[in-house]
Symmetry: C2
Subunit: 143 residues, 2 copies
DNA sequence: TTGCTAGATGAGAATGATTCCCATTTGCAA
DNA sequence: TTGCAAATGGGAATCATTCTCATCTAGCAA
């Protein structure tokens, strides 16, 4: 249970940082994202947070406020919906197999050099703070 | 009018390539995307293709089939909706100003090196065929 | 050119995700 | 502990998207 408590403490701290009250609904949403190995659609979150913990309208409100505050971010994996994931790490990206849907994460995308290049080409921009990279291809099995 | 005709011919060719019939509704959607300088939400497309040319259900059907066939792709610019754009060029990305929403395109993202790196880290993937890169930062005015 | 037919669209109803409203509850600072 | 602004519950309302099916048409074959 040590792990769970550590995660709970981190969640509480995070909410405090963002000036959000520490409610069971918010903690449940954070815990779900911490325990999930893949980004989730709003519907999946609604389905997976148990009814007693948070009503659906509350979950939509939480997803919106978390996204606005940078706790969550949206990801486009080219499914027919947007997914949400924790926005803790900036250098966190995905590879999707367009054959079977298999999903893997990767880091180390060398974003600085891309950002530098982009800024050189777009002089009307001053700084790059975040970046999203998604790769689409075929896994060993589907290739 | 030379330009317009050339664009029309390209559109007809594209539809034929994809085994889609050449209808006024599809041509109107293609023309809209060719003339637009920014990715558009489904609602914007519905609003901008005139009623006489295509009914909304038709536009949704067209957006879906075009996306499935790779004529359009979805882009996540972190607005509260997904945007569509022509998928003609693979190396075509965006920078978004998180202050004012200003949008610019850039090319030359050095995708091969990212793909190579990612494949090295993810041995369960064999090939990368497409990639999405979006950058978020501040424009000169907002910085 | 005409006729044929699978494919495409029109029109509006149906669906279903998301948001709204407001009464009630609750986290948390003083 | 108290007070109150913030958050939630519950269900109705909204609105984007999809469905159904009758009608139309693009494009091929004769």
């Amino acid at each position: 249970m040590k792990k769970k408590n550590a995660s709970l403490d981190r969640s509480k701290l995070l909410l405090k940082e963002k000036n959000l009250r520490c409610t069971p609904a918010r903690l449940a949403v954070l815990a779900l994202f911490e325990s999930s190995d893949h980004p989730m659609s709003s519907q999946e979150v609604v389905a997976r947070v148990s009814r007693g913990t948070a009503y659906q309208a509350t979950i939509y409100r939480i997803l919106k406020s978390f996204t606005d505050l940078g706790i969550l971010r949206t990801v486009n994996l080219r499914h027919e919906h947007v997914d949400y994931e924790l926005a803790l790490h900036s250098d966190h990206h995905h590879i999707v197999c367009t054959g079977c849907g298999k999903l893997e994460k990767f880091e180390g995308c060398d974003a600085e050099s891309i950002a530098k290049k982009a800024l050189k080409k777009c002089p009307s921009f001053k700084t790059i703070n975040e970046h999203a990279i998604e790769l689409f291809g075929l896994c060993v099995r589907c290739a």
